[in-house]
Symmetry: C2
Subunit: 378 residues, 2 copies
Amino acid sequence: MPVSDKHRIPTRDLDTPPRLLLGPGPSNAHPRVLRALSNRQVGHLDPTFIELMNEVQSLLKYVWQTDNPVTIPVSGTGSAAMEAAVANMVEAGDSVLVGVNGYFGLRMVDMASRYGAEVTRMTAPWGTAFDLDTIRSHMEACRPRVLGLVHAETSTGARQPLEGVRELCDEFDCLLLIDTVTSMGGVELYLDEWGVDAAYAGTQKCLSCPPGLGPLTLGPRVLERLEKRTKPVPNWYLDMSLVGKYWGSERTYHHTAPINMNYGLREALRLIAEEGLEARWERHRTTARMFWDGLAEMGLSCHVDEDIRLPSLTTVKVPDGVDPGRVAKTLLTEYNIEIAGGLGELAGKVWRVGLMGFNSRPENVMLLLAALKDVLNR
Amino acid sequence: MPVSDKHRIPTRDLDTPPRLLLGPGPSNAHPRVLRALSNRQVGHLDPTFIELMNEVQSLLKYVWQTDNPVTIPVSGTGSAAMEAAVANMVEAGDSVLVGVNGYFGLRMVDMASRYGAEVTRMTAPWGTAFDLDTIRSHMEACRPRVLGLVHAETSTGARQPLEGVRELCDEFDCLLLIDTVTSMGGVELYLDEWGVDAAYAGTQKCLSCPPGLGPLTLGPRVLERLEKRTKPVPNWYLDMSLVGKYWGSERTYHHTAPINMNYGLREALRLIAEEGLEARWERHRTTARMFWDGLAEMGLSCHVDEDIRLPSLTTVKVPDGVDPGRVAKTLLTEYNIEIAGGLGELAGKVWRVGLMGFNSRPENVMLLLAALKDVLNR
């Protein structure tokens, strides 16, 4: 039978522009991480890969400050890790309470609904956080089995304080799930100290690794519920009772792990271990402070109150009369700088600027402020 | 709060052994693919990435010989693409017929069951294929809405002929789903000519790209059913009505695509376009023939009949009195060659040897035969 050449299109050697990625993610990976990606392969059951898996698991625990035995990179992006958490924690009919103060709270609502949960939305204006009284009154009303909160809202730049939430969850026998996509590796996180039962993240934000893996951690209370399920998790790829056996001591084949992405993540985590978490968190604060001060000098202001503003992601208010899309486009085409506009409720109202991981450096702030000033003054 | 250094383990620079991966996958990626992985990043909505996404989609269509509009790499491994096909094609209560003549047929049964299908298993000995009469009689009995067949069984090395299956499916108004994980890019595939409605693959076999993406193609009949669903796909990450909008003309944000893995896949597909499908298929046949002849000279035989034996994956019978695990381990530790043992019904009975993509070369056959001879003669 003849082969059709209809879709055999001509292509050129890969040659991408030198972007500085200062949007809400992906951020630029560290050069050492990019090099690790191209390291020669071993098999997914090779003894040397098994050792690497152990290292990755251990270093993920360090960055999250947790002892949770199931702490692994899901073989998908951050959204896959989010869905893994939801799929494994929620059973059809469960009452689930989700804090919706941004786009990713909405996504959690959507996912939990698909797994048959009775979802209650606890809403707040985008860019604010929930206080304990509000959480308590909602928990009293819907008696949730799972409470989902977004620690770092990538759509708003707001941080959800978690002190005291565990005590509430204990009172209501409720699992606590948090989204740390934009905080992991850049913002203070003490999962065990805070009594978080499950969390997930992406690799392309403060970890400075390209997108493609989704760190996930499940604590003992989650694993206990997982064991007691009457029906299997209605998602084969993300069923942690199967995936956990591959990453655990059994090493049972489940799927073929993304070998080279795991090389990259390992290197990204090593860089954090070398720098130390406190130093890294402090660096993110210092860089963000420099950016915020610079914005103020230019007469620009931030959407989120400073006490809950994420150092990793700033939402900058668009001044009256300015077309936010034009500014972002000019920054990209003239200066190779990527920033993003607002999502959902904040569309057209803010720019989102990420200073994450390797990109959290004073030279990037200096360049962005100067370029922004130039574009705004035209 | 003090940071705990409990999991801040010491690590060394990444240094993996120079493995020749001749198992059932992953195979060694082409060096050009490894280089592409470490290319500097752009954003997942960058105009240059959008162009790259178009190229990847077009070249996937070439390799599969299909015009299906939804032909994309799922942001997970081959198993994620498999689950994406099942989740989007199956609705709870649907009758689904699956050909089970190996491990991956069983996996399809498991997945379809999780999505609430009434699954009928059509079984055959591992290493054989189904004929049209057998398929017809099962279809008459269970009137399936979806027929799932494994074109290239990675666990057995058998090829399922597909000529005539479309006509049967038309008769029963049934969708045809096929697993091409171990055939795509190495073995004859004419999806449109054969009337296949949906197929999936992994990148780490005959495409010679590391694992981490799962090519998926959905034809018009599948998309029509997807539109008519009464409930959303019970899997957010793999819901192709959402993912399709990101890869389609709308470019609506869904999740952050694995940028660098897509660089790698693009390069892998370019290599196939450069070589040409016919030449590539022929190369796989020639290399496999050399291996099979060499095995015969050593007195070893193959598990699968030659007329349905995959050139990409050979199951070699373990001679009486030989410990297959010892042989595989010695090949790995002394010669850095990875081959695998049997899975499921074939555990302990065969070795699985892959000659896939970049690895399908005479020097690899020569080395493997010589090393195998040495180890078997001890």
